[in-house]
Symmetry: C2
Subunit: 260 residues, 2 copies
DNA sequence: GTCGAAGGGG
DNA sequence: CCCCTTCGAC
């Protein structure tokens, strides 16, 4: 089974590129982030024509997640609330950042973790609060079955995951507190699929548009698959496909694919 | 000599299509309207690389005209003021709608005539006032040499030039007053090059984006070449190329070419 | 429908 | 740098 994750930065703008990529890489599951479209306007049909079942949870302008799956998903839900209840979740489901379903007794959890703006900002606090809810949500789901938790985490787990880590310890996506949140996920029993087979740095999944970072390969590895032990041990490959980032009008992220 | 006119609805957005068209149709002169860009930001270089001299008169967001010419232009000017003086022109040169130069003893006058919004509106009055100044401007230039007056006139000269003329006599681009303004130009000695060789209706140069008018061929012929007698008698062909209007992300207008 | 602008976001 | 929205224009 191949499961890919890709922050597409607007599915309507990236539709043709995603279709072309799926034709070349007919993965079993594709998890999308930043679809930026309400469910009614999601361009489902072309992906359904490719043989995918399409599951979406979107909002206007911002955020939004989706799962394309060759097999229909079981036990599908959106947001934290169906698992944790409104009491615990509060308003953390207002932004559409979580979508999940089960395929072959594996629960896929597709997340778009808040960016956090800058360390210490209000949005940073929201990010950290979001991680706490995510932790509780995962704890509940772990009682059921194996989990593939993937998506855009907006965190580079360690210094190998940044083109130049010097002076980045107070930088968003690299602060100790954000990395602790990743460690907490690992403590639950999740392991970084990419790091099973790739031990070197220098492989990235996101390059900032603003500084023309891609042409200088000033990237970050912030898109991940975190797997429970039963899946992790079966991982045969995990790689980043930078080709889509080289196209005309690309997303700032590029797909990451795990195979097990 | 071939002279084309094309309202491109933003030269920056249409750059590649105009380049592709010029490669297929290496006309001697291309007159553009609605370039929608200040002169500093006009993408001159790709057209110069094709062998054209580039003359521009643009403004931010709206209007804007340009001439591409295989031979450099003589006696080049922009607006009415160089010919009529500020006294007569008033503020009619604030909007960039006129550009002119001489090639092979022929004066090219490229115009983007105001749309006029709706009959009786303030913008309609501006359009009619603009026609009056144009008339005076042409009278002056007629003392010099033959003239090719071309561009987007925003007027369908007669009922053959509208897909369905019924009930259009109070419609913008078809009102008696606008058609009188075209008649006044003819009275100065100009003749509609397209009508020398095409007597039937049903050939259009503009189709509204809004109503998907192109797919239903609900068009208007509002882009013209008006020629003085010495040129008109030499006209060997005049045709509308609808291919560019069939492309992806087209302008709402398509090129019209005269040959003499 | 499509354009450019302006403003918010990353 | 690129996306989205809202706006006026045609």
């Amino acid at each position: 089974m191949q499961i890919a994750t890709w922050n597409v930065n607007s599915i309507r703008t990236r539709k043709e590129q995603v279709l072309a990529w799926l034709n070349e890489h007919p993965v079993d599951v594709l998890c999308l982030q930043e679809t930026k479209v309400i469910d009614r306007d999601f361009p489902r049909t072309p992906f359904e024509s490719l043989g995918y079942s399409v599951y979406v949870s979107g909002q206007k302008s911002y955020n939004g997640v989706a799962i394309f799956s060759k097999q229909p998903l079981d036990s599908f839900h959106c947001g934290f609330t169906p698992v944790l209840g409104e009491e615990i979740v509060g308003n953390y489901d207002e932004q559409k950042r979580v979508i999940s379903g089960v395929i072959d007794q594996v629960r896929i959890v597709n997340v778009y973790i808040p960016n956090g703006s800058s360390v210490g900002s209000e949005k940073y606090d929201y990010k950290m609060g979001w991680f706490e809810i995510l932790n509780q949500y995962l704890e509940k789901l772990l009682t059921e079955r194996e989990i593939c938790l993937c998506g855009d985490f907006n965190v580079a787990p360690d210094d190998r995951d940044i083109y130049d880590p010097t002076g980045k310890d107070n930088h968003i996506m690299a602060s100790p507190q954000e990395r602790s949140a990743i460690e907490a996920i690992k403590k639950l029993g999740f392991q970084d699929a990419f790091r099973k087979l790739n031990h070197e740095g220098g492989q990235y999944s996101w390059w900032d548009y603003r500084t023309r970072a891609f042409s200088k390969n000033r990237g970050w590895r912030i898109d991940h698959h975190f797997l429970t032990e039963g899946l992790y041990e079966k991982v045969s490959n995990c790689w980043i496909d930078i080709i889509p980032r080289q196209q005309e009008k690309p997303s700032d992220h590029t797909p990451v694919i795990v195979e097990f």
